[in-house]
Amino acid sequence: MATNLQTDFAVQGGSQHLAHEHGEAPARKVMGFFTDTTLCIGCKACEVACKQWNQLPDDGFLFSGMSYDNTAHLGASTWRHVAFIERSEGLPGQGSPRDGVEAGAAAFGPLRPSGQPASTSLLTDVAPSHIEMPVPLGPTQRALSNFSWLMMSDVCKHCERAACLEACPTGSIVRTEFGSVYVQPDVCNGCGYCVSACPFGVIGRREDDGRAWKCTLCYDRLEGGMVPACAKACPTASIQFGEVGELRDRAEQRVEQLRARGVAEARLYGEDAAHQPGTEGLHAFFLLCDEPEVYNLPPDPVVPTKKIADAWYAMAASVVGLAAICLSAVASGGRR
């Protein structure tokens, strides 16, 4: 049994590599995360699973007093981070891991066998009417009066237009065949440009290491046909991994469903170019129940490169101006 599992990986791992023989990236599905904050129970399994798989160091043992969040935000050694927001407004009933689990199972099609949670069909032998049967709580659904505790597992957004990628001068940061953004640790020389470029404050440079680090979307696992560690560990399918197109559809249905259940505030964040032109859409997008700022997300992020044309023009002008200054300065002196 064990050995089956083993060869399973070996075969897959091997087959993936033919892809890379030539410079061209093989045509692959664009993979990403859909993080549904309404399913998050703040267990931080994603944070630890990420550290375990990538074998990252701890980020210090500091008590923050920020609810149950002691890692504060993403950084060079923390690639998944769970935010905790104690809000003085209620949040009516939500919750649907099943969508996630099932979609999660379907998500990776051919690459699936190694590690995606299985679908769950507890009631296969039950009349389909079952959903209506139980009596949910009425409209008076409420947590501790006018209070709710929001949790969100944050991660690198793997933007369609990635600021870090476009800023990186060494070619250390690259776009992979899965559409993810990957920092090649063997190339990065720690210039720190990506750190200031990222509009989400995701990528960080560790002083003692000198290089920039961030979520790799488990590039190595993907090569072996495995699901990213965080998505695999997530007990409530709050983190769903899959082909971005499918995730988008699922996310939209989910919002419908939640609004129908009375979660009026449910909204997606960065699901596509239309809704986040600044990044042209995130490959790791979110379902939120409040303003982005509440979760420490920028309301209308933009990849600086999108705006940089202005600066280049200004520079051109500046070049001309400077030349003019020099010439006018020497003009008279040049006379014979």
Partner: protein, 196 residues
């Protein structure tokens, strides 16, 4: 470092020229390491089916071993209990079993001593066995000596001089052997976490 002075063939700019890649955002910027990338589990010699050692939910774990060392522990997707999921503790199991906090030597503290000293395993076992024997004999109760009790003179065949604590973190087989041995020794004060 190859990247310090790349051999020309490895120089991405040339690859960019070759593929007419003007931006160098994609594969032409890949390093050879990147092109070789694979999950470390693929290099494992074997995978052991295991169960999470923390709480009692019993999530399935897969333990990947390479060169007799553990390289990864993660959820078992085939488990109907956990379906590959783990909580943060379960996900940290790798650090639990491979961490440098683990002791690998028997430690001994003499009466009144202020530091540990190491002890050979065999010798330590002998010493413990010898102490069990001594204490058991010193504190043996063959019959109840309590005139006040209705059971005065009844058979006890036990010792209250030795006690045991722990078991909820152990295997069933281990609990069974412990109970069996203690009962045979007449040790009745055997308890575990189920009591708290």
């Amino acid at each position: 470092m190859a990247s310090k002075l790349p051999i020309l063939s490895e120089w991405p700019v040339l690859r960019q020229l070759a593929h007419g890649d003007l931006t160098g955002l994609g594969p032409s910027a890949y390093s050879s390491r990147t092109r070789q990338l694979a999950p470390r589990t693929a290099s494992a010699d074997r995978v052991a089916r295991s169960v999470c050692p923390y709480c009692a939910v019993g999530c399935g774990q897969l333990v990947y071993v390479k060169d007799e060392k553990i390289i990864d522990i993660e959820g078992d997707p085939e488990s109907p209990v956990s379906q590959g999921c783990l909580c943060p503790k379960g996900a940290a199991t790798f650090q639990l079993v491979t961490g440098d906090q683990r002791e690998k030597k028997v430690l001994y503290r003499r009466p009144g001593a202020s530091r540990w000293e190491e002890l050979p395993l065999e010798q330590a076992m002998d010493m413990v066995a010898e102490r069990v024997k001594r204490t058991r004999e010193e504190t043996w109760q063959e019959r109840l000596e309590d005139p006040a009790s209705a059971l005065h003179g009844h058979r006890l065949a036990r010792t209250l001089g030795i006690a045991h604590l722990g078991g909820a973190t152990l295997d069933n087989e281990e609990n069974y052997l412990l109970k069996k041995l203690y009962t045979a020794l007449g040790i009745v004060q055997v308890e575990n976490q189920a009591r708290i």
